[in-house]
């Protein structure tokens, strides 16, 4: 039938459809539920808003935040254009994230999943995080099978391939190539059912894309995650400490600042991850120091002193 077969871009609720089909609802109940459809939509609007709010809370990442705002605006306006029967292309949202370790790639990917779910683009919005070992197998056919399994898990959500460039290593005979082929096929066949994010260090990703020239054009969104500045890293450190009910003494803060400034140029400087490792180690050191004392004040329990700070001199 015409109206049934030529489905509009967004068919009304399939759940409601089935209930009417089975004869469980009369006309008025069906209409009432139609009116209620968007109320659920409102909830997911707030889910989208929550994801965006969470993103805004992240330190730095101004460029990333701007791109995400653009994506959200585009999707919302697209929905309104569709209501007026104006052309609106359903874009593909596969992405490439490049940046050093600890620059927030996974965190942003997780938030994007939530945002896309809130906007109604993804059904589940969950994140499946994989790396080469989860995709590449040991014998012929094994890789395709493993990769397909991971894609299946990510359906309705985000498949995040960390250190994706490692799939391009090892030359022609490597099974990594097979994994890429399976991913590329899935991102075409299921373009609106999941989002593929390839992530990795900037330089390696650039080289990887150069070696696989067909690939770059399939990822319309490529986001660069710059290293955090020292000031931003300190802010992150304080936020992480606060979340764990700790606080840095002014001396500890200054010491950390000096240390971060020294290390920032290092080749494998791991940004927020380094800060987190330092903080967690420092918390353990503080515990050891405090355990030697008799009576402890709340202040002492909270404060991380310079001596606790797990930063090693070079």
């Amino acid at each position: 039938m015409y109206l049934l077969s030529r489905q509009p871009p967004e068919p009304f609720d399939s759940h409601l459809w089935r209930k009417i089909e089975r004869g469980e609802l009369g006309t008025l109940e069906a209409l009432q539920r139609m009116g209620g459809l968007r109320r659920e939509g409102r909830q997911s609007d707030s889910a989208a808003a929550a994801a965006l709010w969470e993103l805004k809370q992240l330190v730095g990442l101004s460029e990333v935040k701007q791109v995400v705002e653009e994506i959200k605006a585009y999707i919302e306006i697209g929905a309104q254009r569709a209501a007026h029967h104006l052309k609106c292309e359903q874009l593909v949202w596969h992405m490439i994230f490049s940046g050093n370790p600890g620059t927030g790639k996974t965190t942003v990917a997780r938030l994007l999943g939530k945002l896309f779910k809130g906007l109604g683009l993804l059904e589940r919005g969950h994140l499946v995080e994989v790396e080469r070992a989860d995709l590449v197998g040991e014998y012929i056919g094994h890789t395709a099978q493993k990769t397909r399994e991971q894609i299946q898990k990510a359906m309705g959500g985000v498949l995040f391939v960390d250190e994706a460039y490692s799939l391009g290593r090892g030359g022609e005979k490597d099974f990594g190539k097979e994994a890429i082929d399976v991913l590329v096929k899935a991102m075409e066949d299921h373009r609106h059912e999941f989002i593929l994010i390839l992530a990795g260090y900037r330089r390696e990703m650039a080289a990887f894309l150069r070696l696989n020239p067909g690939l770059s054009s399939r990822f319309p969104i490529q986001i660069d995650f710059p290293d955090y500045s020292v000031v931003e890293l300190l802010e992150i450190a304080e936020m992480m400490a606060q979340q764990r009910h700790y606080s840095l003494s002014p001396e500890a803060r200054r010491r950390l600042q000096r240390y971060l400034a020294e290390r920032k140029g290092d080749l494998n400087f791991s940004n927020a991850r380094l800060v987190r490792n330092i903080l967690e180690k420092s918390i353990r050191r503080q515990a050891v120091r405090l355990s030697k004392k008799e009576r402890l004040t709340r202040e002492e329990l909270i404060t991380i002193e310079e001596a606790d700070l797990a930063v090693e001199e070079r």
């Binding site: 109206l3 049934l4 009304f12 089909e21 139609m34 459809l37 968007r38 939509g41 209501a83």
Partner: protein, 206 residues
């Protein structure tokens, strides 16, 4: 650009006659239509007079059918085309028969795909149960359209038969446009409400 308007209402309120006569009023000399219901699909092109003869006057009930009339307007107007969807009549009785369920699904689908929804209420009908049904339909549709950002209008049809006694509880009386598909009374006002600045219709230019 096509403006899609879903015309909805209970049985025999005048949905079909309205679609045909409003299309004619907008300048259509021939009407192409596609219809479907539980019995299948049909399509064709008719003059407005032949359409009235076939779809309204022969005592033909088109209750369980959803039919889309496409009206081509002059290219200078904002809307190149208008699709008037003559939906299946909304049935009060429960449970719904198989055919009525299919018709309801098609109607809801039509409402969902439309940019504007026009509910017709029969001004010549005095049955209080019908009034209450119309009122409930009005509330749910108003809710739905507000939330979806669709234009929603209610029109009292068969105004030529109206004796001035429309009663509460029909909640939207004061916002209702009164029309008569027979005399075309109320059509200019409705056109303004639905199409905004579409420009003069063929009728007005004569």
């Amino acid at each position: 650009m096509t403006l899609t308007i879903a015309v909805v209402g209970a049985a025999r309120v005048g949905k079909t006659l309205f679609c045909i006569n409003f299309a004619e009023y907008l300048g259509a000399r021939s009407l192409s239509y596609i219809e479907c219901g539980s019995a299948g699909e049909g399509r064709g092109t008719l003059s407005p007079a032949a359409a009235r003869e076939m779809m309204v006057h022969r005592g033909r009930r088109s209750g369980a059918v959803v039919r889309t009339f496409t009206v081509h307007l002059s290219p200078r107007q904002t809307w190149r085309r208008i699709a008037l969807i003559d939906t299946a009549s909304l049935v009060e009785k429960k449970p719904l028969t198989r055919a009525a369920r299919t018709a309801l699904l098609l109607t809801l689908q039509a409402i969902h795909s439309a940019a504007a929804v026009l509910q017709l209420v029969d001004l010549s009908c005095h049955d209080p149960a019908r009034r209450e049904f119309d009122d409930a339909v009005w509330r749910h549709l108003a809710d739905y359209c507000r939330e979806q950002g669709k234009l929603f209008l209610t029109a009292g049809s068969k105004a030529d038969l109206y004796d001035g006694s429309l009663q509460a509880p029909f909640a939207s009386t004061e916002k209702m446009v009164f029309i008569s598909s027979l005399t075309r009374a109320g059509f200019p006002r409705l056109q303004r409400c639905l199409l905004g600045a579409v420009g003069p219709s063929a009728q007005e230019m004569k």
